[in-house]
Amino acid sequence: MLLIECPYCGVRPELEFVYGGQAHVARPGSPAECSDEQWVEFLYLRENSKGIHAERWRHTHGCGRFFNALRDTTNDHFLATYRVGETPPPAALERAAGPRP
């Protein structure tokens, strides 16, 4: 089981959280004007990264809030968690570019 750091509550076991899929998937501003390709992009296409993955989690059995995380999908290490609306912390991205933990 993973240990996940909620940016509001601190480190908690994975059981308290619900996974929310890839982060930063922008909802189309004007759906009526979207092409079929844009709908496919929004609804179905995901990065499915082997490596650093930006994803959403919700602390369902805690504060109940959504937040974002950077996780390495090759070893499940969390590099950082950050609040909704924030950009990924640059230090975490630098660590990600460097040698693996």
Binding site: E14, D36, L45, R46, N48, E55, D76
Partner: protein, 416 residues
């Protein structure tokens, strides 16, 4: 190829079984092939076998980054069934089931296919309605599936506890033609058959890039064992499909999740069929070695680690102990994970890609083993003819754009 028969076993038995040849060559990669299959699991090895056998394409290589059958082919719970809801799926999975019935003879290799029956338990009113709908839809499609009352289910599987549990069993859908097969034997049998027809099986050879020519068509593969020219490339890389296809600039609607399985210590034959429960997330059968083979659900998050959380497998064991109280004191021997590529509609993609010469067979999610012969057969057909076979024609990448989804979320064995 040394053929297996009762006589050959007896003759070699008399000399202590010392004069058997290796089942396939340790092939070195050549500079060029007519077609290359990426991924040496059952689907990939089978595709190479049918390319050689049915389409006369023998200058073929199978590239495997590890050892053959070391991915999901060797990690699944070996369940075979075809009782899927949609017409397209019923045709696809029953094509595979019919091929399973003759596979050992075709390959001259015992894949230990055993039609012991697959029972899917219904625990709620909703389950009952959904499974009865499946039974009727299957029968309309010529696929056997029947409804059992709790008493009838218990008659088939006497160990099953149907009442006095948290989610009492209200009935079951039972496909008698379903069952299990020896997963390793499927990989080995296809490898042996393909090798005998001239296919090169190249292990420890990871694809690192896909080279394309001026008009974008596939030209060659860069691998850890050198450059390999090929005009036709078929990818059967399961959980790693997104990674390979990205090398050619193709994005697919897939996400890769860990899926876990466990085996118990071996015991005497005690379990007569396959039992699965979607509602409380567990499935179980007994291997011919005597181990109980138990499947758990997927983890919540995407990952490539080939291991999952302990709470996911213990959750499956809680369900098993509830349904089969006599297994409560049994010890588990091993558990492991495989990485499954899940598509949005839980149906596979067996299709051409936008890149000429590049074909993909993926999206089998949590249940690809059952389809191995059918999938391999149709994928070989698609590669050889550069167009889909009528059975896999609906299973395109474009169906997500066109809204022609083949929703099998209810038929998938575990929660995604």
């Amino acid at each position: 190829m040394q053929r297996f028969s009762g006589f050959s076993l007896l003759r070699r038995g008399l000399s202590g079984h010392r004069d058997w040849q290796p089942q396939w060559r340790k092939a070195q990669p050549k500079a060029a092939y007519d077609a290359v299959i990426v991924g040496g699991g059952g689907h990939g090895l089978g595709a190479a076998y049918y390319l050689a056998k049915e389409h006369g394409l023998t200058n073929v290589a199978v590239l495997e980054k590890g050892w053959i059958g070391g991915g999901n082919t060797g990690r699944n719970t070996t369940i075979i069934r075809s009782n899927y809801l949609r017409d397209e799926s019923a045709a696809l999975y029953d094509h595979a089931l019919k091929m399973w019935e003759g596979l050992s003879q075709d390959l001259n290799y015992n894949v230990m296919f055993s039609q012991r029956g697959v029972m899917m338990l219904a625990h709620t009113v909703h389950d009952v309605q959904v499974f009865k709908r499946h039974v009727h839809a299957n029968r309309a499609n010529g696929v056997d599936n029947e409804w059992l009352t709790p008493e009838e289910a218990q008659a088939v599987c006497p160990l099953l506890q149907t009442d006095d549990i948290r989610y009492p069993v209200r009935g079951a859908a039972f496909q008698r033609r379903g069952g299990t097969a020896r997963h390793d034997a499927v990989a080995w049998g296809y490898a042996r058959g393909a090798d005998a027809l001239g296919v090169d099986i190249i292990e420890n050879c990871e694809v690192t890039d896909i080279r394309r020519d001026g008009r974008g068509a596939v030209q060659a593969l860069e691998t850890t064992r050198g450059l390999i020219q090929a005009r036709k490339v078929g990818v059967c890389a399961a959980g790693n499909t997104s990674v390979i296809l990205r090398m050619a600039g193709v994005r697919l609607p897939l996400e890769s999740y860990p899926l876990q399985a466990l085996v118990s210590e071996p015991v005497k034959p005690i379990f007569p069929c396959v039992v699965m429960s979607n509602t409380i997330h567990a499935y179980i059968s007994q291997s011919d070695k005597g181990e109980l083979v138990i499947g758990a659900g997927t983890d919540a998050y995407t990952s490539y680690t080939q291991r999952g959380g302990l709470h996911v497998s213990s959750h499956a064991l809680e369900a098993i102990c509830e349904l089969f109280p006599m297994f409560r004191r049994m010890r588990m021997l091993r558990n492991w994970g495989g990485i499954v590529d899940v598509s949005p509609d839980r149906s596979p993609i067996i299709a051409r890609t936008p890149v000429p010469g590049l074909y993909v067979n993926c999206g089998w999610g949590t249940g690809g083993f059952k389809a191995t012969p059918g999938s391999a057969h149709l994928f070989a057909w698609t590669i050889a003819h550069d167009k889909p076979h009528p059975i896999n024609a609906p299973f395109t990448i474009e169906r997500f754009r066109e809204g022609r989804l083949i929703d099998e979320a209810a038929a998938a064995a575990v929660a995604h």
